[in-house]
Symmetry: C2
Subunit: 98 residues, 2 copies
């Protein structure tokens, strides 16, 4: 069963800044190049009921592919080099068809 | 611009219970009958990094249609009669294409 992996997050960088654009572009380039990543999307979170500003969403064919992504050096490197220093807050959710 | 309205939530009812099935079925029947609700989905939230168990997602053509949904008597009634007494925790997020 395929899994939709999502994360909503708020950047330290100001909205509309070059740092924001750089982060989103680096994320897209890095994460979509990892084997098994499907349907990668970047969306703005616009509900005033949440303080998060962005969402990444991607799909994996199954749990094994998802674990391969999590442990892939490109993902681990992105987390250490960009995610941890540049993200102020985040929450992950993974969805499967009921 | 279309808006994806989502809510992740945890029910008071036990997983696999009849009360859980009833809640999900009532929600689907009630909410999908409201004008302007598109692409309604019910998914399980399976990440151990969140305590939420379910997600509803739907799309609206624009903000006016979304507001019409929020104030529609069927939505208001569902919130009062089912959502408030049966949902233990929830978080809304709305997404638009970046």
């Amino acid at each position: 069963m395929s899994i939709q992996h999502t994360v909503v997050f708020r950047l330290i960088a100001e909205e509309g800044s070059q740092a924001e654009r750089d982060f989103l572009e680096t994320a897209r380039e890095t994460l979509t190049a990892i084997p098994g990543v499907m349907e990668f999307t970047v969306k703005r979170q616009v509900s005033p009921k949440s303080g998060m500003g962005w969402q990444f969403s991607m799909a994996f064919a199954d749990q094994d592919v998802y674990e391969g992504y999590n442990t892939h050096p490109a993902h681990v490197g992105f987390v250490a080099t960009h995610w941890e220093p540049e993200v102020a807050a985040f929450q992950e959710y993974d969805f499967v068809t009921a």
